[in-house]
């Protein structure tokens, strides 16, 4: 894992001291709320409905067991004993008091964490594939790239006051697990087809929110060494031309859309050519220094299979089912990456109690080389578990209600906090997730349905990724009550797509029936081995729309 150097350490400590002073000045009245708000946002402090909220960065989703224990402590000492893992792989605490936040930030700094770049119009915390360094389909670990971008962007004076927030995601694998096409910039590490040199495919202009867009490829192959100069060129074009007059049009996706991908690329290439590459690009020694932190850990040499594991699997159907859904093959023989579902049936997606965080930290120490990952699907991962240890880990997870066998299935639902917490929400999202999980709880049925992503947002901002859900649910307000709009056919992978609206909004209590109908169409129409999303692609929206409209006719209280 990356370790802070003296510079990182000083920078984070200074920011805590500054914020402590800013809070003091706010309380004494020398800063007004209008002056203070941008300062608190720079440190991840929001005001929600019931309380402040602190958003803590988990850079590229990698956490050490020590960091996880510190989060557990903060949750217990300063919050209500739980936290919420988000689609941006951050952690949010929902109840901190402003007076305590400087102390919380100090506790975070003790374990090399902070809440910088989690808010405001800056380059946000960079996200990456949660199976980085582990996945079998990986060309190169994306985290050194993400860390390099973090260092480059953290203090970059040119990009401290952008037209709008800016999100970058990186994957080093063929299969996109980081939703890179829904980010302002998505980077895919790949090998050049002819030279086999490693470089980046650069995708710009993706984003969700009120104007969802899939990112466009602006450079098919960028040599690795040129990364920062090229990113700087993109940021300059955006900074200069991005609209500051209207915040709904200020994201880079709007600029790319308005001037076209070709023209955007042309301007970036022009700026790139003008820049003094060597002075902007990272020093190769620094790149190597960063990369060394992400070198593969000290694995044991193990056989590719484990007798104990196979026996446990054969003897215990529940364990076998969990293995089937929550295990990801590891590139190192004899190991697996396992997904810890934060979606027990009926619980708020992504929430973990302090006790659960400690269980995960202990298991990471004992069985996963002290490493943990946070996924954009609001789950956790133990990335390096020996096959022979899996049964023991599963049993311990089960004791903490962390062994739900549903990764990737219909009850592994993404949901933003929605109106239960969020001041911007137009409707609740968590109760919809809970009702759906309960409706589809039966394990046999979940298995029959297979991979199906439901994603729910409580307003048009789309923090719950609803646009790229196979089934997306957006909570709105219609005539004074909560109303839910269903979309179909979204995709968050390399085949990224924005879902299409199926019909008029529904009342909360009608959502499970509507989803049931959609699923029934799939089950009736699928071909052997065809997944839900493949089925939607093949047969199109019409049959689903028809079924959906039947639901709509039947329910008396549909809110048109």
């Amino acid at each position: 894992m990356y370790r802070y150097d003296e510079f990182d350490e000083r920078f984070v400590r200074e920011r805590v001291a500054q914020f402590r002073d800013q809070v003091g000045r706010r309380l004494s009245g020398s800063l007004t709320e209008d002056e203070f708000k941008p300062l608190r946002l720079k440190n991840g402090v929001y005001l929600q409905l019931h309380a402040y909220m602190l958003r803590i960065a988990v850079p590229y989703g990698t956490l050490s067991s020590k960091q996880m224990r510190q989060l557990a402590l903060i949750g217990e000492r300063y919050d209500r004993g739980y936290g919420h893992f988000t689609t941006r792989t951050n952690l949010q605490f929902n109840w901190p008091k402003l007076r305590d936040i400087p102390d919380i930030l100090d506790l975070l700094a003790d374990v090399e964490m902070h809440a910088i770049q989690t808010s405001g119009n800056c380059i946000r915390n960079v996200t990456a594939d949660h199976f980085a360094g582990v996945a079998q389909d990986e060309v190169e670990d994306p985290r050194p790239t993400a860390e390099l971008i973090r260092q480059w962007s953290s203090l970059h004076p040119e990009f401290d006051y952008l037209p709008r927030k800016f999100k970058i995601a990186v994957t080093g694998a063929e299969h996109d697990r980081a939703v890179i096409k829904a980010h302002d910039i998505g980077l895919r590490i790949l090998r050049h087809p002819d030279t086999h040199e490693i470089g980046y495919e650069v995708i710009v202009g993706g984003g969700l929110g009120r104007t969802p867009m899939i990112g466009k490829v602006v450079r098919e192959f960028l040599p690795k060494a040129d990364l920062l100069a090229y990113l700087e060129a993109i940021m300059r074009v955006y900074n200069l031309e991005g609209r500051r007059d209207n915040k709904y049009k200020a994201r880079v996706k709007i600029l790319v859309h308005e001037i076209g991908t070709e023209e955007f690329s042309r301007r970036v290439e022009e700026e790139f050519a003008r820049l003094d590459g060597p002075s902007v690009n990272a020093d190769p020694a620094e790149v190597a220094r960063i990369a060394a932190y992400f070198a593969p850990p000290a694995y044991e040499t193990l056989p590719a299979t484990s007798g104990a594991f196979e026996a446990a699997r054969a003897g215990n159907p529940d364990f076998a089912r969990w293995v089937e859904t929550n295990l990801t093959p590891h590139r190192q023989p004899g190991y697996a990456a396992l997904t810890i579902s934060l979606k027990p049936i009926g619980a708020p997606p992504g929430d973990a109690t302090s006790e659960q965080m400690r269980v995960v930290a202990d298991l990471a120490d004992e069985f996963s080389l002290s490493e943990i990952r946070v996924t954009h699907a609001q789950n956790l991962v133990l990335p390096h578990v020996k096959l022979s240890d899996l049964f023991a880990v599963w049993q311990r997870l089960g004791e903490a209600e962390l062994a739900t066998a549903n990764a990737g299935l219909i009850t592994d639902i993404i949901a933003c906090p929605g109106l239960d917490y969020c001041a911007l929400a137009t409707a609740r999202s968590i109760p919809i997730a809970q009702a759906l999980a309960q409706r589809f709880a039966d394990p046999a049925r979940q298995k029959e349905i297979g991979v199906l992503n439901i994603k729910i947002s409580g307003c048009i901002n789309a923090c719950g990724h609803h646009h790229v859900g196979h089934i997306g649910i957006l909570g709105l307000e219609k005539r004074g009550i909560e109303s839910y709009q269903i979309t179909l056919g979204g995709d968050a992978t390399e085949n990224a797509a924005i879902g299409e609206i199926l019909g008029p909004g529904l009342a909360a209590e009608d959502v499970p029936d509507a989803i049931e109908r959609i699923v029934s169409v799939y089950l009736a129409q699928r071909q052997a081995g065809e997944s839900f999303i493949d089925n939607v692609r093949r047969i199109g929206l019409a049959p689903f729309k028809a079924a959906f409209q039947d639901t709509n006719r039947e329910v008396s209280h549909a809110v048109a």
Binding site: H50, W95, I481
Partner: protein
């Protein structure tokens, strides 16, 4: 943030406490106003004069570094208790609907009256 467009009467004034973020309600009588954590204690402004007083209190208290995000909310008075008409503000006076053990609903028996709505 004194309300530019005043909501329909009757109204209550709510805000978040600056220091700890908790939702607070303007309470009191003709002799003076103060903040209460209890929504049941909120002073109901049934006429323009009281709503004006609540507005003025909001402006003063924002300036005094006591609260943030203060605004008037239209309510229906049910069994003597002011219940916000909009579900968003009702959520604010109770706490998260998915965690009945947290927020005002858990701390203040009176706030439970709001759960009926």
């Amino acid at each position: 943030m004194a309300a530019a467009k005043r909501p329909a009467l009757p109204v209550i004034l709510l805000a978040n406490d600056l220091l700890d973020g908790d939702v607070v309600f303007a309470a009191g009588d003709a002799n003076g106003l103060h903040w209460s954590r209890d929504p049941g204690a909120a002073l109901v402004g049934g006429d323009d004069a009281t709503a004006d007083r609540l507005d003025a209190f909001a402006a003063a208290e924002l300036g005094n570094q006591q609260v943030v995000d203060a605004y008037l909310v239209d309510v229906a008075v049910e069994d003597g208790v002011p219940v916000p008409r909009h579900y968003r503000e009702r959520m604010k006076t109770t706490g998260p609907s998915i965690r009945r053990d947290l927020g005002k609903q858990a701390e203040l028996p009176l706030a439970q009256a709001f759960l009926r709505a």
